[in-house]
Each structure stands twice: as C-alpha cells, then as structure tokens.
C-alpha cells in the first residue's frame, strides 16, 4: 500500500510480460520448465492481499512445533524411564508454548480482545480449531511442566496442594503428548486455507513438512538440553523428522507448479536454502553424535535453526506470492483457457464448460 510498492504503468491496462522464473542461484532443476509467463493485471497491483502478520506468526509456527514435539518426547521419556529427558522436554514445551501465546496475542490488531477467540468454536476456521487445540493442550503441558518444578523443590516445600503433583504428573504429560501432534500439524491448515497462492497450493504436503519440522526441532532441542545417555529417542525422532521434512518439502514444490517460485527467490529463497542445509547437516550430525554431547548439541542447534528457517521461508514465500498478481492470475487463467473453470457440479466432479 505504500507508494513505493506500486508498480504503475501509466496509460496501459498493465499487461506485463515477465520471465517465468527470475534468475535463481542453485535452484533445483524441476522448475526450469516454467515457460515465460504472460499475463494481464491491473497496473501490476496485487489481487489478493498478503496477510497482515509479521514475524510473530512464523516464530509461533516454529515454537509451536518445538512445544508439540517436546511434549511427545516427554511422554515417551516418562513411560520409558528417562527422567532427565522428560524434565527438559516438559520445561521446553512450556517455554515454547508460553512464547507462542505471547506471539499470538501480540500479533492481533486488538491484543486486549484476545479472549474473543473463545466466543465461538468454528470448524470452518482453522484458527478457531487451533485455538481450541491449544486451549486443550496448553493446560496439560503446563501442568506437566509444573510437576517438574514441584519435583525440583526440596521436600519440605512439597506440602499441601503441591502433593497433588504426584497424581497429576503422568496423566497430564500423556494427555499433552496426545494433543501435541495436532498442535504441530494444524498450523499448516492455518496457512493453506487462504487465497495466498503459495500457501494454498501447498495444502496437501505442508502438514507433513510442518510435523517433520516439529520433530526435527524438538529432537534438536532435546539434544541440546538432555544428557547424552537419555537422548537416543530424541536423536531418532530428529533424524526421522528431518528426513520427512526434506522429502515432503520436495513433493510439495512439485505439486505447487509456478507458485513454488517464491520459495526460491529473495528472502524466502535464502531461508529455504539455509533450512535445507541446516536440517540435513543437523540430521547427519545427530546420526553420528551417539557418543559426543558437544556434537549432539551442535547438531541439535542446527536442527532448531533449520526448522525456524523453514517456517520463516514458507511464511515469506506466501507473502511474496500474494504481492505479485502473477501467482493469482496465471494459474486461474490457465484453467479457464483449458476450459476447466472451478464449477460446482451435483455429483461433486467439476463441470467442464467454456468461460
């Protein structure tokens, strides 16, 4: 909306010819087939609007993933007798969740009204669904972390209601672990159920990218914070998550067609490349770090950074795809020109008809 953003073409209807993919450094080969895109727009102005969200939201996507994966690790650690892993994961989950809450409230246009989120429960709104997932998950994750704190207190302070901690401990941790996977995956729905071209086109694969990223990040967090002899599961979760993230991301780009371009350009491109390198290196390091706490911690840090880069990269790519009318016009125009406009049909299959 700032005048500087305006790409005005005086005296024309804004017909623009642009290279389908601006020169990219080190991009994969599968998108080089994108032909030169010719399309018409109104003075090159955006059609859909980018979200008004700022860094709060990708930061939340990352922290929410850390919290979710950590709650899963904590539940597993609890059941398999790994108290140090359990403790660090539970505290990590609460820390990440608290950060998430602050970020989510801060991002609102009217933060003082954040409780209005609880007025309704709406299945058609992934944000409402997510609010209720967090509202369910949060207290259990909080209670599980609280019991860890109580456990760290000297005996003489563990009196009165604090003695209840022993009974709350395991059920809270397990319930947090049960709801955690939804915390990790709903955020993909949140992004892809929009008209933002690069998010919407990623809708089938993005949940897998995000749970992979959550697993890698939370595994990485455990490698940084838990003692070596208890981090075996965290290492396996981290490596599995990293592989899932990298594979699903590749699948996602294939499915996205031209809207994958913003993932390779500008700030988003830098972030996505960094994400791949950090995630792959972190996973490789985690794989061989069975005897070295230092190497484990370093790998864990790389995995955390990789996950953050993925979230910021996907976020930025979407924002960019909304700012450029090309990504809205060209895919829609192509399906119209193919004679396949999106039309409702009684038996559910799209009706084919001319424009």
């Amino acid at each position: 909306m700032k005048p500087a953003d305006i790409d005005a073409t005086p005296g024309t209807a804004g017909s623009r010819r642009r290279r389908g993919g601006r020169r990219r450094k080190g991009g994969g080969g599968d998108r080089s087939m994108v032909p030169e895109a010719t399309f018409t727009s109104y003075y090159g102005r955006p059609i859909v609007k980018p979200s008004p969200w700022e860094a709060d939201i990708p930061a939340y996507l990352f922290a929410g993933g850390v919290a979710a994966g950590s709650s899963l690790l904590a539940a597993g650690a609890d059941l398999t007798g790994r108290p140090a892993l359990r403790r660090s994961a539970r505290l990590g989950a609460l820390g990440a969740l608290s950060f998430s809450m602050v970020a989510l409230v801060h991002d609102l246009g009217r933060p003082e009204r954040f409780l209005n989120m609880l007025r309704v429960a709406k299945f058609t709104s992934p944000m409402s669904v997510g609010t209720w997932i967090l509202t369910t998950y949060g207290p259990f994750a909080g209670a599980a972390a609280a019991t860890e704190v109580v456990g760290m207190l000297p005996d003489r302070y563990r009196r009165g209601p604090l003695r209840l901690a022993a009974y709350v401990d395991r059920p809270a941790g397990l319930l947090a672990g049960l709801f955690a996977p939804l915390v990790a995956s709903y955020t993909a729905v949140l992004l892809s159920n929009t008209s933002t071209p690069s998010w919407n086109a990623a809708r089938h694969e993005l949940p897998f990218v995000f749970v992979g990223s959550a697993a890698a990040a939370s595994g990485g967090f455990a490698l940084v914070t838990a003692p070596l002899h208890e981090t075996g599961p965290a290492r396996r979760l981290a490596v599995g998550g990293a592989v899932l993230e990298l594979v699903a991301e590749r699948q996602m780009e294939r499915a996205m067609g031209m809207t994958a371009e913003p993932l390779h350009e500008g700030k988003a491109g830098t972030l996505m490349r960094a994400a791949k390198v950090l995630t792959a290196a972190g996973a490789a390091g985690a794989l061989v770090s069975g005897r070295s706490r230092a190497l484990g911690a370093l790998s864990g840090a790389a995995l955390l950074a990789g996950s953050a880069c993925t979230r910021f990269g996907v976020f930025e790519a979407g924002q960019e795809s909304a700012r450029d009318p090309k990504y809205t016009v060209v895919p829609q125009r192509e399906r119209l020109d193919r004679g396949e406009p999106v039309r409702y049909h009684e038996n559910g299959t799209p009706r084919r008809s001319g424009e």
């Binding site: 005048p3 005005a8 005086p10 005296g11 804004g14 018409t40 109104y42 003075y43 102005r45 059609i47 859909v48 609007k49 979200s51 008004p52 969200w53 994966g69 690790l73 597993g76 059941l79 398999t80 991002d107 246009g109 009217r110 009204r113 954040f114 209005n116 989120m117 709406k122 058609t124 944000m127 669904v129 672990g177 955690a180 996977p181 990790a184 995956s185 709903y186 993909a188 729905v189 892809s192 159920n193 929009t194 008209s195 809708r203 749970v211 959550a214 697993a215 599961p233 965290a234 396996r236 979760l237 599995g240 899932l244 979407g318 009318p325 125009r333 039309r343 409702y344 049909h345 424009e355």
Partner: protein, 321 residues
C-alpha cells in the same frame, strides 16, 4: 446450520446461516459499460460509513488515485485506458445525418455563415481508444472465505445474505485478509486517530441503510445507474438481459462476472458486467473459496499428526539409550 452445500455450490446464504424468515438476498449489479468514472460512489461510501480518507497519492494510473479496495476504500473505481475501439457501439462523436435541404425560396441554400464540416458522412473516425471504468466493491460471496475463517464470529451473515464485520467483536487476528480470494477485506492500519484501527474493515452493503429500507449509499449516488441495487435474483435476470443487449449491439466483449451460482464462490451478491477479462480490472479470473477444500486439508493434517505420533512412538522402541 450446515447443509449439503454449505462449503460449496449454490444456496441461499441467509437460509444456510439459520435465518428462518428473512428478506430476499440483496446485492449489487455493477454495469461497468455505463460507468463514467465519476467516483460519486467512492465519496458517498466514505461519507456515509465514515471511512477515513488516507492514501491520496498521484499514482500515475489513469484517473485512479485510490489504489485498491482496502480497509479505507470500500468502493474503488478502476480506470483502464486501452488502444482499441468499443466495438460497433456508436461513440456519439458523429453528427446525425442532416435532413435533405428544402427549397424555401430564399436567396441561398445551406446554413448561413460558417459551413459545418460535412456532417452525416463517416469522415469522423471512430477513435482507436476506449476507457474502461469499473466500480469495485466487496462481493458478498455466497460462500464467503472471510466469514468462514473468522475465529471470533465477528464476521457474520446478515438477514439480507450479506457479510458484515461486527467491529466491537473483531480482535484483529487478520485471518480474513489472506482468506479473501478477491483481496477486499483488510485490517485498518491508520490513519492515527481513526476509529477501528487494528480491526478488519470492508463494505457492509450499508447494513444500517438496508435495515431502514434504504438503498446503499453508493448505488444511491450513482448518476448513471451503473451501480444497481436490489434483490440478487432479479439483478441476475436484469444482468442477463443487459449482456444480451450489448451482444446484439456488437459489443461481444461484454460478459458477466460473479453471476453464476455454480462458480468457485457460489456466485457473488455483488456481481459485474465487464467489457474485458476480469484480470484487466484487477479481479481474479476464477476465484475459489478455499474452505471448499478444507475437509480434505484437515484430513491431511490429521494424517500428518498421526505420522508424528507414530514416529515419536517408534523413536522410543529398540535400544535403551
């Protein structure tokens, strides 16, 4: 509240929203072929709805200096200058053919004084130029993405089938902004001191005026009836007749946009007659309400969540270290 077509397909939105006894669905038919670009609609809208004036820049895009529909611009007139004629339409530049002269017994024939250019012939060329003007507005979709995704219930379906923001409920989460396939709704950023900063804002189809049996401000102010207000059902019929008439007049570019209840948003309450492809005016060519795919996306998310749960479980199997 949710019927078979609730996420996609034709339906009556007010009935679907649960109103049992409600007035006919109201909307706009904006016939851009008779828009003169006077911007009376923009002004009337701002005045009636107290929409703050900001972003006045000389943009160098014909007569359009209001940029786009946004939080502070609920009607926006687009101006497009094209190097092509209008079709066989009479541009009104030719003189009418003069009647044959009649001998009145006067000393000389013809008009006294200056001679006009030989009127009645084709020597005035049809200009190779046309000016498209179109007043854009919120579409009040049958399946409104903004309303679907609103997590507070601030956006609601009115008894008139329109989509309205309750400004005292909205907490400015901003989700409706990227959800809208037309880029209409926006969170108000300013100017400082304006009301409802931080809150999602868009056309209400003058919900207050509708309640009092009045015509929305923009349609009321439109001097050419380019903006027509009424029952959507009737407007659709009127639009079909108008486009036929234009086709008969040789303007084959004329087309309707948003009138089809089977389209990606279930048809819009505010639809248009355009003289070129939708994207020329800044409309998406084939918009779709993303909620249509939501059940499938939720399915993928649950599958991904199950994958994570299983992966975590498997991580704890095997070696104890």
């Amino acid at each position: 509240m949710t019927g078979r077509h609730s996420l996609f397909g034709p339906l009556d939105p007010a009935t679907d929203a649960g109103y049992e006894d409600h007035p006919a669905r109201k909307g706009f038919f904006t016939d851009t072929s008779i828009c003169i670009g006077c911007k009376a609609c923009e002004v009337a809208c701002k005045e009636w709805n107290d929409v703050p004036a900001d972003h006045f820049e000389m943009l160098g895009s014909s007569y359009d200096n209001s940029f786009s529909l946004n939080a502070n611009q609920w009607r926006h007139v687009a101006f497009i200058e094209q190097p092509r004629g209008l079709g066989d339409q009479e541009p009104g530049l030719r003189q009418p053919p003069a009647p044959p002269p009649v001998e009145l017994g006067m000393p000389e024939m013809g008009a006294p004084g200056v001679m006009l250019p030989d009127s009645g012939t084709d020597d005035v060329e049809t200009p190779d130029f046309r000016w498209l003007m179109s007043s854009d507005v919120c579409k009040h979709c049958t399946h409104a993405a903004c309303l679907d995704v609103c997590p507070t219930g601030s956006l609601f379906r009115s008894e008139f089938g329109t989509v309205v923001v309750q400004e005292d409920i909205c907490n400015g989460c901003g989700y409706c902004v990227p959800a809208c396939p037309y880029g209409v709704i926006e969170r108000r950023k300013g100017p400082t001191g304006a009301k409802n900063v931080g809150i999602a804002q868009k056309c209400t189809l003058c919900y207050d005026r509708l309640g009092a049996g009045e015509t929305p401000a923009c349609a009321k102010a439109c001097p050419t009836q380019s903006i027509q207000f009424g029952d959507v059902e009737e407007l659709r019929e009127r639009a079909n007749q108008r486009v036929e008439k234009l086709h008969e007049a040789g303007i084959m570019d004329a087309r309707l946009y948003g009138n089809d209840p089977n389209d990606g948003v279930g048809g819009t309450g505010a639809f248009f007659l355009l003289l070129d492809k939708p994207e020329v005016y800044g409309f998406p060519p084939d918009p779709v309400v993303t909620t249509r795919d939501l059940p499938a996306i939720y399915g993928r998310a649950v599958a991904a969540a199950a994958t994570l749960l299983a992966g975590a479980a498997v991580s704890f199997l095997g070696r104890r270290r």
